[in-house]
Assembly symmetry: C2
Homo-oligomer: 228 residues x 2
């Protein structure tokens, strides 16, 4: 029995992009799980795993933290349906993991941080204003977001150019079928969608069409998630 | 017998990053080649391959253009030493190819374009000023370059963060040994080095250490190339 500790926002939203990677990895392997939602300010719930961030999973007696470590754990523990067909797929995924966490998320975060703040649980508001505010150098997240969107949208779309080029020759980053690199890249879109109505992609963008294909997977798991 | 058509700059410099990818692919496979250097304004030399850009190779009777197509050709024609161990390595390489061509080269190009102009063959100067100038919206490439370097160096280094994260757990992008993703990422550094003395990386950057390892390969092929 697998338990996933997930971040909770207002209206039962679950934006954490790192938890989404784990949910897609679990679904890919056909595994069931139960979720324990928690606030940013309830980190005591995941102290047992010596973690301060989600995802954390409890798999039987084993506690695993960090989405990448969880993917590797699931691959070892449930090898029947592989997430990484071979070592090269794992290395490809590791590269995409770093690319999304830095280049893609870095371009996306400033454009939705104000909307994100508006949707955190009331008890988490001060924490978010303090932690994100000090990172961004302002406490007016709404004004920061508005300024970021002006230049930010074309810059964000430009970061996706490597994926766009891949989609010229194959349907998914992983090839003809979706794989962990695709789940990683989908995660910031699900994160943004759950907190912000801001349009990230043009409808004629090949990344838009890819995202539609991704949202169809696993009975429309991502599409059914509560949006902004 | 393989012939490689390569771009020639002043002082026998050969900066083309796309030709470097081909040279490393050939060396990886232990293949010999001869080079035909040409100016930007001697595109008639590669008209036989219906190409306007290098690299072009002539392999026996076959003409192949574009570094990615050449890598695939070499893999088919000389399968003994593989460039792509399996399909996943090829897909990983395709992604890295797009990432370097857009994100990495996009951040690098403005910082060295003035130096590049200073080192093209005299007969190519007008062509470069016209083509690069119209792309950048200015003919004062030196001033453009100086302005780009101010914000550009930290922005360029930031684009390399995905690689930096990979180097925390393995020596090369491809794994314990270098592979085509590494040859792709090395190519913009060789390109810049051949035209510009501008310091792209700090010496304590893990990407710097990786670049040193890469420059050692194949009897120091990249290290021996004539710099700025």
């Amino acid at each position: 029995m697998i338990t996933l500790y997930d971040l909770l926002f207002e209206g039962d939203r679950r934006p954490s992009p790192f938890c989404w990677r784990t949910k897609y990895a679990l679904s890919h392997k056909g595994l069931q799980w139960t979720e324990v939602p928690m606030a940013f300010t309830e980190k005591d719930k995941i102290a047992f795993a010596e973690s301060k961030t989600v995802p954390v999973i409890k798999d039987g007696d084993e506690a695993v933290k960090d989405s990448w470590a969880i993917a590797l754990h699931l691959e070892r523990a449930y090898p029947e349906i592989t997430l990484f067909k071979n070592e090269a797929t794992r290395k490809y995924s590791l590269f995409v993991n770093g690319w999304v966490d830095t280049t893609v998320n870095g371009a996306l975060f400033p454009m939705v941080v104000g909307d994100l703040y508006d949707r955190v649980l009331p008890k988490d508001r001060d924490y978010i204003l303090e932690s994100r505010g000090s990172r961004l150098g302002t406490k007016d997240l709404g004004a920061f977001q508005a300024a970021a969107r002006e230049k930010g949208q074309p810059a964000f779309r430009a970061t996706l150019e490597p994926a766009r080029r891949v989609f010229k020759v194959q349907k998914f980053l992983a090839g003809d079928l979706p794989g962990y690199p695709d789940y990683i890249l989908l995660s910031p879109f699900l994160w943004a969608n759950s907190v912000s109505p801001f349009k990230l992609l043009a409808e004629d963008d090949p990344v838009y069409a890819w995202r539609e294909r991704m949202l169809d997977l696993f009975d429309g798991m991502g599409r059914k998630a509560k949006g902004a």
